[in-house]
């Protein structure tokens, strides 16, 4: 079975500084990987997806993620955090059409 591990349950950054949210995956074949974001009292919004095309994937709101097979990682980054980025972020792997979620990372952005 496929799985993802989000290495940090909470990350705190200052506004304007880089964001790094870490995710490692376990898969027996080339996976489809996603990052979703959940703002307070809102649904799950797709940030970006990797489906075996380019290893560097650009998403919405300035986020990007790099698929590294050798490290089984799919870390999410953003060069400069904005207050509106404060939310919970989920790394997700697709397994036969169903999504398997990581535990989530809560991003806090300090002014």
């Amino acid at each position: 079975a496929q799985s993802v591990t989000q290495l940090d349950s909470h990350v705190s950054v200052s506004e304007g500084t880089p964001v790094l949210l870490r995710c490692n995956y376990s898969s027996s074949y080339s996976p489809s990987l996603f990052w979703y974001v959940q703002h307070p009292n809102k649904g799950l919004q797709l940030l970006l997806k990797y489906t075996s095309a380019a290893t560097l994937v650009k998403g919405i709101n300035g986020f990007e993620a790099e698929f590294k097979k050798s490290e089984t990682s799919f870390h999410l980054t953003k060069p400069s955090a904005h207050m509106s980025d404060a939310a919970e972020y989920f790394c997700v792997v697709s397994e036969s059409g169903k999504l398997v979620f990581g535990a989530g990372t809560i991003l806090r952005v300090k002014s």
């Binding site: 489809s32 169903k98 398997v100």
Partner: protein, 112 residues
């Protein structure tokens, strides 16, 4: 931009009662899903639905649960006799193919 909608946003029910959670998927999507997130836990897959039948279900999705697409737009999740442990946020999702799933805002269910 088309989006998945869910009603109600919140539902409170008594243990043993039946509840129906409703979803309107994106109109040209063919695959439909339910997930749930118990407070403080991971989002978990419940069931997927394609071509008017269940294509996969998790071990959570026991006989108390059922899904239906009663018309061309709605997709429902029914819990026949709710238990305290069914309290959770329930998310509906839809996709055109089996790749990217788009989620609704969720229904928060509280069983008392």
């Amino acid at each position: 931009e088309p989006e998945v909608t869910q009603t109600p946003s919140h539902q409170v029910t008594q243990m043993g009662q039946e509840v129906i959670l409703r979803c309107v998927p994106i109109s040209n999507h063919l695959y439909f899903y339910w997930y749930r997130q118990i407070l403080g836990q991971k989002v978990e897959f419940l069931v997927s639905f394609y071509n008017n039948e269940i294509s996969e279900k998790s071990e959570i999705f026991d006989d108390q649960f059922s899904v239906e697409r009663p018309d061309g737009s709605n997709f429902t999740l029914k819990i026949r006799s709710t238990k305290l442990e069914d309290s959770a946020m329930y998310f509906c999702a839809s996709s055109f193919g089996q790749e990217t799933q788009y989620f609704g805002p969720g229904t928060r269910l509280l069983v008392l």
